[in-house]
Symmetry: C2
Subunit: 306 residues, 2 copies
């Protein structure tokens, strides 16, 4: 089945994955705000470690009301902008449209489902270093895998179709159990996003210094323990924290998205990366003390940074 | 009994309290390093909220070997310099000399006792805002109370004599149970010293923001719980954290000593303010998870700051 894609949030995530689909010939429609005129005229340019590519002409729209109804809406917004979806989505969706949230954190799908009861929602986890560096210009530095899972899709075959489209467009896409995948990604995101902000450090130095390595590990262990108490389908093993530390040690020094947001004085995604996991863990009777401490430090810094 | 005082570490603490004793006519001898020539020539000047005073001539020495043996040696060094005491103290002490450590943290007296078995050691807690602002020049901004307690004094009456000398010199000095006093002061020092460094904040904003107030309180509760598990003589009640938060709210915005050290790129007193209390708590079977997280953040920052 040929799917029509809408892209909401054309930054490092939406620009890259939407661009890959469009470059492969899929029917892709981009919602733009500030960059609309530039992209309408010049298209999209993706400087990619895996090979640069240019889309000289893209279907670009300045407002959702001008867009066609889509079969899949890919949301690549910062979660701090998810309140906008209430107004953006209605003109884009039909009965079976799948809204795919390629975002970090926990509770995103639940919040959207509250706003749109009965909506087919899927979640995506991007393992990628990619950011917007100018109007219509995305810089993709490394990686690119995408894990996709259904949250409330009435027709699960559409999710398979989406994954298949990504794979054919050259993305390492996988169909996964969403809850497990979200928790597994939190094991990395929770310690590294916040610690790079609070200590103004890069992933490598934090991973190598014995004091912060021990603290990163402890936070990872807290997240693993919480995921088990909650009973995510795919159990996270005791080896996960050690593996993540070793993986990060081998990565190039890296500024996670929250660090980039902080340095650019943008709002921080504290709610979905920290507060909601803490809430879910507490509901399951588990405290994550070091994570909770980091959350409160971030709340202070985020407010001071505005 | 007329006591002869030696002052080691003539900064905000040693300069102020030694200066008060000297100004009142006690027999006080100051060990100086960089400031020796200046102080020998110009004396000490204390700009004090409680009334400025000048000591035009003081007994100043460039090296411990030139000093007389003293009945009391007041140590006002940063604890990061306590390794120097091994060389400084021997020429200054006789059989019954009391070495009074006016320093923050835990385990200072135990470490000194290991180095000097049988030494009469006392500890002091200064509740003061005071710092050295230039050669021979101390700025005393506020407060000034001093709690003194014996750790291993062969003649406890000397400690009473010291407290009495301070009181007569105009210092609000008290004789206290040292272990209890050290833990009680840690309830404030542990959260505020580290949090002002890590979050680059002042005491007032950290106390007023709900997120950091909650974290400060949690650390205070961890310290109170640890002090109880250890069984300090004077039980710290559940009301202590609330009282300390309210007290700090009323204080003028304040940079604790560790924040001043950090900003001036001096070593941080992590060992005695964090690591030793954590160690003592663990020995008593108690974890302080938020305090332990802060300790590790500080170790990273301290090393990066050098």
């Amino acid at each position: 089945m040929k799917l029509r894609y809408g892209i909401v949030g054309v930054g490092g995530i939406g620009g890259f994955y939407g661009g890959k689909l469009a470059f492969h010939g899929e029917d892709v429609h981009f919602l733009l705000h500030n960059d609309y005129r530039y992209v309408k005229e010049h298209g999209l340019r993706i400087d990619s470690a895996a090979g640069d590519f240019i889309l000289p002409r893209v279907n670009a729209y300045p407002h959702q009301d001008q867009m066609p109804v889509c079969d899949v809406v890919i949301v690549g917004l910062k979660t701090t902008n998810n309140h906008l979806l209430k107004d953006i989505l209605p003109p884009l969706i039909h009965q079976d449209t799948v809204v795919l949230l390629i975002q970090n954190g926990l509770g995103l799908e639940a919040d959207l489902a509250k706003e749109f009861p009965g909506l087919s929602i899927a979640g995506g986890l991007a393992f990628i270093c990619s950011s917007k560096v100018g109007p219509g210009r995305i810089s993709h530095q490394d990686y690119g895998a995408l894990n996709v899972g259904s949250y409330s899709c009435s027709k699960p075959e559409i999710v398979q179709n989406i994954v298949s489209d990504f794979v054919q467009a050259g993305v390492e896409a996988c169909l996964v159990d969403l809850q497990s995948a979200r928790w597994k990604k939190l094991v990395w995101n929770i310690p590294y996003n916040g610690m790079t902000v609070v200590l103004n450090g890069k992933t490598d130095e934090l991973t190598l210094h014995p004091a912060t390595r021990s603290l990163l590990r402890q936070m990872m262990e807290e997240v693993v323990a919480a995921s088990r108490a909650i009973g995510v389908r795919e159990n996270l093993g005791d080896e996960v924290p050690g593996q993540m530390l070793e993986m990060t040690e081998k990565m190039a020094p890296y500024a996670p998205s929250m660090k980039l947001d902080y340095d650019a004085r943008r709002p921080l995604e504290i709610e979905y990366i920290y507060s909601r996991p803490l809430e879910e863990a507490r509901k399951a009777g588990v405290e994550m003390p070091c994570v909770a401490a980091l959350e409160r430090q971030l709340k202070f810094l985020a407010e001071k940074n505005r």
